[in-house]
Symmetry: C2
Amino acid sequence: MTEAAALPSPAFLDDLHVGQRFVSGSHKLTAEAIKAFAGEYDPQPFHTDERAAEDSFFAGLAASGWHVAAVTMKLLVGDGAFIANGLIGAGGEIAWPRPTRPGDVLTVESEVIDVAPSRSRPDRGMVTVRSETRNQRGEIVQVLTAKLVAPRRVPAAI
Amino acid sequence: MTEAAALPSPAFLDDLHVGQRFVSGSHKLTAEAIKAFAGEYDPQPFHTDERAAEDSFFAGLAASGWHVAAVTMKLLVGDGAFIANGLIGAGGEIAWPRPTRPGDVLTVESEVIDVAPSRSRPDRGMVTVRSETRNQRGEIVQVLTAKLVAPRRVPAAI
């Protein structure tokens, strides 16, 4: 991950603030990878067979949204998670506004949109990160708003 | 997929209604599968290394949330999607309330919670399905509320 501003790496909750941005490396999705992932986890014709995909909703082979999510995670983890205990998601919202196609090169741009110390657990908190996954034309193929568990640098006094 | 009530298979938007429920088959997650998925898409020590995982937030090897999501999709697709054009997700909300462990056997219980014909496209609509993924003890390991594109049986008159 490359961050726009200097950030201790890996970061504690106390190092994070709203507006921090990160840009990932990139990953190219091949037709073979799309079909292999779908064959194991999302075996629908528009993800596994070019010919059948032509007549589908997608009008051509498209990656499973869960494959896009998995590749996004790979890019977010990158050479090392940007949070000290790793990227541990409690959940979030996900949307796939357009299909991902064979040959697409994906990059993830992330922004911290909320930092919330836990009220009950002084050693941790929750960071909300919005991650846009874009293809090589800059088109957004996935938006993920994830809530991540982050440790505190020094347990807060109560 | 096994449905509690009779449902034309595959179904159009017109065949779906709030309260319909589906139960999937089951899938066992092995330590090898957890580590293989994580090695490719979520290479963090608590997903890839039993020893390192002991000292982590998870206190033991845990599956990547995206692996749980992918297996959930596999179970939802099952022997055939329950919607006529396939299971095409526009997006949704996802949460992982507890970790999935090696040896866990996952099953998905789904319920239709909204059916909305499109106002602009008379040939389709959106179905919202809440899917709970449970382990062999009945504990919920993932909740996914997904918006799925569904075709209409007969285009509506405007």
